[in-house]
């Protein structure tokens, strides 16, 4: 996935002269995860800029560039480092179109690694998507495969409005996938159906896709047919696709790594309860992280939902 992200940057830098990449250690050094390796060499220091260690400034710079006709793609090293940038993101980036009544848009992409599973220190494994999704004016996107990392990042860079682009750190090098480097973007704001099924709908995103697909494959051998939807765009949520799937299956399990309390799973569950209640055959189940600080290396796999927990939840919905 990391190379898919690198290729998407390369493609867009090469094909759109207004694209600018910026962030801490992203130029000379190519980024902590090597997402931007080689870009400065290829495109020069004006288009691939190292910044000081100041997330608020990175976001502010990106907004300034965006208002002046550039398309900045900024990297925050880890999602836990986003807090200093939130003032710029929430108070300006998300509002610029509204504030200027459409005169200015803010075509910024802010990329960052998302989630745990890499035995990292504190502040390096956060899943804060719900916090960002709660802000009107922000789009939050989270790919779950190299192909979607490539296609959705291209779509994000080309979109005229600000996008938070969450990259599941655990998946950076976990899977390989043939991806045509053809500059084709994938649609934003829609779910991706990774598996068709009839018994239960499982909605998830990011690194949880891997565990969910593993659970679905095992369940298939036991005669349970799971429909797996990759939410992909976490805000706005493609509720229609979820509702249609629930109409078909009558059961819903939501899986996310982020804590349960006020998570995006709650939003999905609430919407299905509002509009799809009569289609449900069983209570909606959530499989999530716990409402505690993301643990360090030794316990992180006790925290992160795994295939066994997902299978338990699916079976619980089937009891009804």
């Amino acid at each position: 996935m990391i190379e898919a992200i690198n290729r998407a940057h390369t493609w867009e830098l090469a094909h759109d002269p207004t694209v600018v990449v910026l962030g801490e250690d992203i130029g000379v050094n190519g980024g902590v995860f090597r997402a931007t390796a080689g870009l400065q060499e290829q495109f020069g220091k004006n288009r691939v800029q190292d910044t000081p260690l100041a997330e608020g400034m990175i976001a502010g710079m990106a907004i300034g560039m965006a208002t002046q006709g550039l398309k900045p793609v900024a990297e925050i090293q880890f999602m836990g480092f986003i807090y200093p940038a939130l003032d710029q993101i929430a108070n300006h980036m998300a509002r610029l179109r509204n504030r200027t009544r459409g005169r200015l848009t803010c075509p910024v992409v802010i990329r960052m690694p998302h989630g745990g599973g890499i035995h990292a220190p504190e502040h390096h494994s956060e899943s804060l998507e719900a916090m960002l999704a709660h802000h009107a004016g922000l789009r939050v996107v989270c790919p779950s495969s190299p192909a979607r990392a490539y296609g959705l990042l291209l779509a994000a860079i080309r979109d005229p409005d600000p996008i938070i682009f969450l990259e599941p750190a655990r998946l950076y090098r976990l899977v390989k996938q043939e991806v045509a480097d053809d500059g084709k973007a994938l649609p934003l704001d829609v779910c991706y159906r990774l598996r068709e099924g009839t018994d239960v709908t499982v909605v998830t995103w990011g690194a949880m896709i891997t565990e969910t697909m593993r659970a679905a494959e095992t369940l298939q051998t036991q005669g349970v047919s799971c429909e797996v939807l990759d939410l992909a765009t976490l805000s706005p949520i493609d509720h229609d696709t979820i509702l249609e799937s629930v109409t078909k299956t009558g059961r819903l399990v939501i899986v996310h790594e982020a804590p349960r309390n006020c998570g995006i799973g709650a939003e999905i569950a609430a919407t299905v309860a509002e509009h799809g209640l009569y289609d449900l055959h069983a209570p909606i189940k959530r499989v999530t992280g716990y409402d505690t600080i993301m643990p360090l290396a030794r316990l992180e796999y006790d925290y992160i939902p795994n295939a066994a927990r997902i299978m338990d939840a699916v079976r619980e919905t089937l009891v009804e």
Partner: protein, 413 residues
């Protein structure tokens, strides 16, 4: 001889400090075997052997700072070829091996200095279908269930499951054809029965004890078992002189009623469908006490004089108030008298407690305007309410019983 240079450990730092060596000169190491731990600005990272061989030289000791790209370890490999491993190679040799793979996602770089990046060789093959908005929803049409899949309220589903009813084929009366609870009830045999409802619960009540608890239980028993039917009438006491003992006159009237219709002095077993007419009339007299209702029994009212009855009534009343009534005084009652009129109230619907079949209630006496032959007169009257268990007492028997009671009460002596 092959030289392994300190790789860029991913964050692009210029140097790293040796924390400790896991190998010594002369050791034979295998691919991926940890050789040393180095500390960068962020974390301690294990550096594995990039290839198999014998360690010839270790460059640096713990605490030394090594520049990225500087020689770290020299190997004597089986091939003996002298070669330098490019300094950009990752510490992780598995990633290094996959560097040639023509796959996006594989890389020549371990990719992180914090923690341990999981690296997979698995090739992802997926069919990802972008979903998008369906035309149906976009056109504002309400969602319909494909393939005849049922839409039902959760409570309806739960009720159907509880009752063992399948919802298939039920037509829903809810909005958009949704099956609601009422549809399940209509469809089920429980429609004929009263819907099971539970009175609202509340917190902080005190448990019933003693007489009140006994009343609650006997009334529940009565409610669940007796078919109560009540007739009302008034006894005209116009001919009474001063000094009549109302309670004793009522007991005497009950005896007269039972004589006229023995069916009301009886026990009835609804389950066994058996009835037993009782030769002796033992009247239970409801006594209101601060602790609750207590019903001592006056034995053989037909076989005692008025004086004897008065003495017995007095004894039982004071025993009831003193709570010295014996179990014998409460047992085997055949007919009930409730003289609530001493307090207030004209008519009531007294409740028959099984196995008895009747109860007589006497209300508050009043002077009523009565139409007589010569015009209107004010007469003293006693309202009577006779409840009988209609499962084993006919209306005619009850009415004749009441008529006999009235006749006896209306006598002047």
């Amino acid at each position: 001889m092959r030289t392994f240079n300190l790789p860029d450990l991913g964050e692009g730092l210029a140097e790293a400090e040796i924390v400790r060596w896991h190998v010594n000169v002369g050791d034979v190491v295998a691919v991926d075997q940890p050789m040393l731990a180095v500390e960068t600005a962020k974390a301690v990272v294990e550096v594995p052997a990039p290839f198999a061989g014998t360690i010839k030289t270790l460059h640096g000791k713990p605490g030394d700072i090594i520049a990225t790209g500087a020689p770290l370890v020299e190997f004597d490999t089986a091939h003996g070829a002298s070669a330098e491993v490019p300094p950009t190679a990752a510490g992780h040799s598995r990633a290094h091996r996959s560097a040639d793979a023509a796959h996006v996602g594989a890389s020549s770089d371990a990719g992180t200095v914090v923690g341990n990046m999981p690296i997979g060789e698995h090739e992802l093959i997926e069919t990802a279908q972008a979903c998008g908005y369906s035309n149906n929803r976009a056109n504002g049409n309400p969602r319909t269930s494909p393939n005849g899949r049922l839409r039902a309220a959760p409570a309806a589903r739960a009720l159907a499951k509880h009752l063992g009813i399948t919802l298939t084929g039920l037509s829903g009366s809810g909005r958009g054809g949704v099956i609601v609870v009422a549809d399940v009830i209509t469809h089920s045999s429980i429609a004929a029965r009263a819907p099971a409802t539970t009175p609202p619960a509340f917190h902080g009540g005190e448990g019933l004890r003693g007489l009140r608890r006994a009343m609650a239980q006997s009334m529940t028993l009565a409610r669940d078992n007796v078919m109560n039917c009540t007739i009302f009438d008034d006894a005209d006491l116009h001919h009474w002189r001063e000094g009549h003992d109302i309670t004793i006159r009522l007991l005497r009237a009950i005896a007269a009623g039972c004589q006229a219709e023995p069916a009301l002095n009886a026990w009835f077993d609804g389950n066994a469908q058996t009835r037993r007419l009782l030769p002796q009339i033992d009247v239970g007299m409801a006594v209101d006490t601060p602790d609750g209702l207590i019903v001592p029994v006056i034995r053989d009212i037909a076989g005692r004089t008025a004086v004897q009855l008065r003495r017995e009534v007095d004894r039982l009343k004071s025993a009831a108030h003193d709570r010295t009534v014996t179990p014998e005084d409460l047992r085997d009652v055949t007919f009930m008298l409730s003289n609530f009129g001493m307090i207030a109230g004209r008519y009531a619907t007294p409740v028959v407690v099984p196995p008895m079949v009747a109860i007589l209630g006497s209300g508050r006496l009043s002077r009523d305007v009565v139409a007589v032959q010569s015009g209107l007169e004010a007469h003293l009257r006693m309202p009577l309410s006779l409840t009988f268990d209609h499962r084993c007492v006919t209306g005619g028997e009850a009415a004749r019983f009441l008529a006999a009671v009235l006749r006896d009460l209306e006598k002047d002596t």
